[in-house]
């Protein structure tokens, strides 16, 4: 009988009202069900997914390091490939997150009505949004792990990785993944057609990509450009990655991590709010 009472009160407990923070409820463990669905799908095409994850960065590193590197002299001590490698890692982390969340997320929302199917279960819009964000971040982390393998293979030739701290790039990539996935999901709540995605890519993602210090040092730019660069999340990511690969940790790196840690939660809130607004009218 004791357990009976406990059950009753648990149901009654749900009746005290759904608590929300600025209009969204906290996601719960259904978030994991969303992520596991994505893992199921990823595993269906595992071989192809992993091949791509390794082949793309290999190609990019060879082109940038060998071909482009011959013509670029940044006035640094190191070869261009040593400078650019952390940028390539960050680039792939960002693109796999953004690709998954932007195209995949929109497809699931608008074409497949997959979120509609999930909403019929005990999942709320909040869980679905959170699951999308976490999965986007995981895709970034998986992709970074693959790039690190490529870098490790190339290191004896070019000295790309100077420190075991490099392994910390993976959790940082997950953090940046949360940020970028949230940035994308927040937009998807507004995207009406597939064309809106291309627009977003050009207006938002491309500038982030080019003006981040991934391919050239921002500190050689005029002051206003550096200020602008400070607002670019990828700038901080690249700085962290560069420090971890070189094994050269400074307080500035702590500042970069702090920047990501401060900016990401409100963006996640925004993304959840936006997708909820789209799903629950």
């Amino acid at each position: 009988m004791v357990s009976m009472t406990a059950r009753r009160s648990r149901i009654a407990g749900a009746g005290w009202g759904v608590r929300t923070w600025l209009g969204v409820a906290l996601p719960d463990r259904r978030t994991i069900a969303v992520v596991r669905r994505h893992i199921d799908v990823y595993r269906e095409l595992l071989f192809m997914n992993l091949t791509l994850a390794v082949a793309e960065p290999t190609l990019a590193l060879l082109v940038m390091g060998l071909a482009l590197g011959q013509f670029v002299d940044l006035g640094l001590d190191a070869d261009y490939i040593v400078f650019v490698a952390p940028g390539v890692v960050a680039m792939f982390a960002m693109f796999s997150t953004v690709g998954e969340s932007l195209w995949g997320g929109y497809l699931r929302l608008a074409q497949q009505d997959l979120f509609g199917a999930m909403l019929a279960t005990p999942a709320r819009a909040e869980d679905i949004a959170a699951g999308e964000i976490v999965w986007g971040a995981l895709r970034g982390a998986i992709s970074v792990a693959a790039v690190l393998i490529v870098l490790a293979v190339l290191t004896p030739a070019w000295g790309l990785i100077a420190s075991p701290l490099v392994i910390l790039i993976i959790p940082v990539a997950f953090l940046m993944g949360l940020l970028f996935a949230a940035l994308v999901i927040a937009y998807i709540g507004y995207a009406r057609t597939i064309h809106h995605l291309m627009y977003y890519f050009t207006i938002v993602i491309n500038p982030i990509f080019w003006f981040s210090g991934a391919f050239f040092p921002l500190d050689q730019l005029p002051g206003w450009a550096q200020t602008l660069g400070w607002f670019n999340p990828l700038t901080h990511v690249v700085d962290i990655f560069r420090a971890l690969m070189a094994g050269d940790l400074t307080w500035a790196v702590a500042g970069d991590v702090l920047w990501l840690a401060v900016v990401t939660p409100p963006l996640c809130w925004l993304a959840i709010w936006s997708l909820r607004r789209r799903l629950i009218r």
């Binding site: 648990r10 149901i11 009202g17 799903l279």
Partner: protein, 328 residues
């Protein structure tokens, strides 16, 4: 113990006044979109184990009502309880009790047949092994055991629909929400779905059905409501509604396109006050004819080959009450 298990084992919260709580109870339920009122204050009462139908033309408010019952659309006014739980607060608990067969087949196209069911089960907190057991049983129930590994886009329309039904049953729901479950199916596939639904009803599952097929509603439902412009305009058992609103035999006249209006006018005089005429495209339905009026009608119509007499059915009730023939 998970919330789902708790709910599955605990009896629904007892209501203030009765032993058997209604599975769905709405009072003055409203849904507004800006100035437009899609659901204009309806009362609903669906008893446990009942097969309940909601009919109405497109835009009548059925879909909004269902969306509120399934806790995916906020209520604008009134109150709505499902299994004794308030949709405004207990959405997760309510959704754990529901199985939903939506209008569109939103199966997961990136996963196979079995994988669809397994992935869906996780949202209910059903452990993997149990999910595989239930999925196996349900695939058997919908006669798709041999298609467990098939891709979704390889399935026929009927199989797709049956798989959606199987998915809705994964959590062993107490209430099954069926939003046009047989739309687009051929007669054979439709009968198969009907048979499955009858089996489930025998197990005590409460059913809420919307459909545009009057035959389906007449055949399956214990009780129906007809909605129009966001309001309930009729409620009762199908037989009673037919008796009350359509009555005896119906004379059906096939006309040429241009002729329907003229023939209707020509009939209006001789039948004045005795019969009622509805136009549905190129068909005229004449209700409430007695023998004498029937002869007068036959004189006006002429050609006997284009008339036929049939029993009144739910479609007649629907046409009469919504008064809109084939218009949207």
């Amino acid at each position: 113990m998970t919330v789902e298990q708790t709910i599955a084992q605990a009896p629904a919260r007892p209501p203030a006044g009765g032993i058997d709580p209604p599975m769905i109870a709405a009072r003055g339920l409203r849904k507004r979109y800006g100035d437009f009122e899609a659901v204009a204050g309806i009362d609903l009462h669906v008893a446990r184990g009942e097969f309940f139908g909601m009919l109405g033309p497109n835009g009548a408010g059925k879909t909004s009502t269902i969306a509120m019952i399934t806790c995916v659309l906020p209520v604008s006014g009134g109150d709505l309880h499902v299994a004794g739980l308030d949709v405004q607060r207990d959405d997760r608990a309510i959704k754990a009790l529901l199985g939903v067969v939506p209008q569109n087949n939103n199966l997961d196209p990136d996963l196979g047949v079995l994988a669809n069911l397994i992935a869906y089960a996780r949202f209910y907190g059903i452990p993997g092994r149990e999910a595989r057991r239930r999925a196996g049983e349900l695939l058997e129930l919908v006669q798709m055991s041999d298609r467990a590994d098939a891709a979704i886009d390889e399935l026929s329309g009927g199989m797709t629909r049956r798989l959606v039904l199987a998915r809705a049953l994964m959590n062993e729901p107490r209430i099954l929400i069926l939003d046009e479950p047989t739309t687009g199916l051929d007669p054979q596939a439709r009968h198969l779905v009907w048979t499955k639904l009858q089996q489930l009803r025998e197990r005590g599952v409460t059913m809420l059905l919307t459909t545009h097929y009057m035959e389906e509603a007449e055949r399956l439902c214990d009780r129906i409501v007809i909605m129009d412009h966001g309001a309930i305009i009729a409620e009762g058992r199908p037989r009673d509604l037919i008796e009350r609103h359509a009555g005896g035999p119906v004379l059906q006249v096939r006309t040429l396109d241009s002729e329907a209006g003229r023939l209707r006018e020509a009939l209006a005089g001789p039948l004045a006050g005795e019969a009622r005429i509805e136009t549905v495209g190129d068909l005229l339905y004449i209700y409430g004819l007695d023998e004498a009026a029937g002869r007068r009608a036959a004189d006006v119509i002429g050609d006997p080959y284009r008339t036929s007499t049939r029993h009144a059915n739910l479609e007649d009730v629907f046409l009469r009450l919504t008064g809109r023939g084939l218009q949207e």
